[in-house]
């Protein structure tokens, strides 16, 4: 396959990746006539599109976050089903990132392109696992594309939290989590490690936890922090958005041990700067090993890298004999290469 061929129908615009024959954008950065959305995170799903195509889970998230502004017409495409848009066949395949997250598989004139969206490879009970799709062109994310990012086992990180809870029974543990995905993932990991006590959650996390429950993801007993006495929060686990740790909000907690669940916690300086006492390396993005192994599995003729540290992943792929470029350069004149 000649990747030049794909460049004739897929190009990068100021709004993001645009599929010309299908007349749709993928994760456009602002309102558009037609958008295919990989998942519900704010840097991918934006309000005010005319028509939106996404998995039922992603649409539920968008409705919950944007209400009326989620889009004029919302079309659900379940995992594995194919739809034709202007001669381009489009399939959404699980990405293993968060509830509803999908890779976008496009086929046009014998050329198969996969846009990974955000993804990870390790097990996550809150969403179906990533399915590698052999393709001609693999558009991959690169959030943690440096070889220093190798996430440890989730269970070891959760055990670290539970050990600390046992060691400091007179304190509360407040874990900073993003409201969508990470919060529910941490809850599900806690349950998997046998933690059955109620987990106390910040008000900003409630709506999305409800949504996950409604979508059939069991999170165990949850209680709001609001109105609970300091005394009653001793020895308890509290989940809150990362910013709440330094808010006046946190003063209601008894001597909180400040934890944070994020892939960035792998780097000590990052954790220290954020005033984190208990860094938990729990990520919803592929780490270096997952990124590089996935490339080997999907065996693309060419890799387009986006969303993070492009240069390192391109370097690695090139050393391994792949053709790789930064997605931001696609469609620009590169005759010289």
């Amino acid at each position: 396959m000649d990747p030049k061929k794909a460049e004739s129908w897929l190009r990068v615009t100021s709004k993001g990746l645009f599929c010309e024959p299908g007349d749709f954008f993928i994760d456009p950065t602002s309102g558009s006539s037609r958008a295919v959305i990989t998942h519900g995170h704010g840097d991918h799903a934006r309000p005010n599109h005319h028509a939106v195509l996404a998995t039922p889970g992603t649409l539920a998230i968008m409705r919950s976050r944007f209400g009326e502004n989620a889009g004029r017409s919302l079309q659900a495409l379940p995992y594995g089903e194919t739809i034709r848009l202007g001669g381009v066949s489009v399939t959404l395949v699980p990405a293993g990132h968060i509830l509803g997250s999908a890779q976008v598989v496009m086929e046009y004139q014998g050329c198969r392109v996969v846009v990974s969206g955000d993804y990870k490879r390790r097990p996550d009970a809150t969403c179906p696992p990533f399915e590698p799709q052999p393709c001609d062109i693999f558009v991959t994310e690169a959030t943690f594309a440096l070889p220093v990012f190798r996430h440890p086992e989730d269970t070891a990180e959760i055990d670290k939290l539970l050990h600390s809870v046992r060691l400091f029974p007179e304190r509360s543990h407040v874990v900073g989590v993003y409201a969508l995905g990470k919060c529910q993932r941490v809850l599900s990991l806690l349950r998997r490690q046998g933690y059955e006590e109620p987990v106390y959650i910040h008000g900003a996390l409630e709506a999305l936890c409800d949504l996950y429950e409604k979508e059939g993801v069991a999170l165990g007993p949850l209680k709001p922090v609001l109105g609970v006495s300091k005394e009653a929060l001793k020895g308890k686990i509290v989940l809150a958005p990362p910013s709440a740790n330094t808010d006046r909000w946190s003063r209601r907690l008894p001597e909180p041990v400040v934890a944070m669940a994020s892939g960035w916690m792998r780097v000590r300086q990052r954790a220290k700067q954020g005033g984190v006492e208990l860094p938990l390396v729990i990520s919803d993005h592929a780490d270096w090993d997952e990124l590089t192994q996935t490339i080997d599995e999907v065996k693309p003729s060419e890799i387009w890298v986006t969303h993070g540290r492009e240069e390192a992943l391109i370097r690695h792929a090139t050393l391994k004999g792949y053709k790789a470029r930064a997605l931001s350069l696609i469609g620009f004149d590169e005759e010289g290469q």
Partner: protein, 523 residues
Amino acid sequence: MNRFAALLDGLVFTPSRNGKLRLMTDYFATTPDPERGWALAALTGDLNFREAKAGQIRELVLARVDPELFGWSYDFVGDLAETVSLIWPTPEKVDVLPTPGLAEIVEKLRSTRRGDVGVLMAGWLDALDASGRWALLKLVTGGLRVGVSARLAKTALAELGKVDLDRIEEVWHGLEAPYEALFAWLDGRAPKPEVGDRPTFSPLMLANPIEAEELVALDPAAYFAEWKWDGIRVQLVSRGAEKRLYSRTGDDVGRAFPDILESVPDGVVLDGELLVLREGEVAPFNDLQQRLNRKLASAKMLSDFPAWVRLYDMLEAEGEDLRPLPLSERRVRLENWYRAGTRPRLDLSPLIAFSSWEELGELRDGARERGIEGLMLKRKDWAYVSGRPKGPWFKWKRGALTLDTVLMYAQRGHGKRSSFYSDYTFGVWRDGELVPVGKAYFGFTDEELLLLDKWVRNNTTNRYGPVREVSPGLVLEVAFDSVHRSTRHKSGVAMRFPRIHRIRWDKPHPEADTLETLSKLVT
């Protein structure tokens, strides 16, 4: 090793003293010998390897990782040991490699020639996880800094064994890693270890602060008075042909003071103040700081900053423990010993003659010369008792200096205070502009902290990460012990022990003090 690494991880991130203590006590209680003993030695700084050089480590990793990728990673992480620990490619058959214990690592490093350390290291790096690799690399490159003092590690031991910290200090310098006899005692399996005539540290007798009003209840004739010198309290021990110079907390600081150690004769334990003296005059505290900052002293340092110990007590002479004797007798023994020979680098802290507290108070207020912080009052009939007994010893400090300053910046605190702006940078006026002159983060009550935090949030003009700049408007009366010239500060002066004395909600900020006023207080 992985458990030790997990402990270090915890210590690095836990800001509070109590949190660190809990982590260490838990580790010592649940880790077997000799692993925990070597860990203890690493924490107290008693593990010294023929260090592996950074270049050696870099070479090991570049044999396995693309230099370009390594370079970008190093730029991102910013620390060599951490970069290597994270980037080290795990070999396929990781399961068959046993994780090395700390004891094994210590033993092998000690018995391996420097040239062979690389091979050894590579094998261990393969077998350890990222935390373990970090701990190992920090250990062998001598960069293990986890915010734990030897004192704090020993405090954890005291909690583990439910014994007084002083009982541990008494034997500490007579023991060696991996401290199995010590742990056996702390576990309650054996008696306290015997240390014979090693030059161990005798925990110090400490004084309580006192104010003039409280003195009237005391009989002046029952007390000796001495100047309170502005140096570092030390204990000089010379026993069994070994000599040590200990800090107040029992840290051995002798390596930086060969001039002192050289001049101590055999068979004494002395208590005194470490000072830099020039022709009998106490040099500024900064001069002593120069010496304290160095692990080893160069010949130039030794001649530029001559160190002395000004003696005020004698705890042992010729193998005889003098501590049970009353101070009046110990003083006689000290003076007789001092006069019986030449004592270079040692002098006596004189006793001050006085007959009433009023008279002594006048002497105290009149003594403005450098090096004097106030007075020490010591009961003549008391034995030398370690710790801080109530009654026998008092420090009667000269009144603190104070200054009205203006709050300029506030920074969020750590741990319990992480939601509060609790670290304050304050300034004084110079030509109509505020110049920062210091930083304080204590001296106020919890209620005042709430008010200060609120004021900072309501008067923020700029934010830089955890720091907020505030509009000038709040006057803080700052207390401090003294002021020194400093080239490191924009203002040219630095305060010692600044703390918030009062919050002057009432005072208009243009009426705060000037840099000129502050500069006049420089000693």
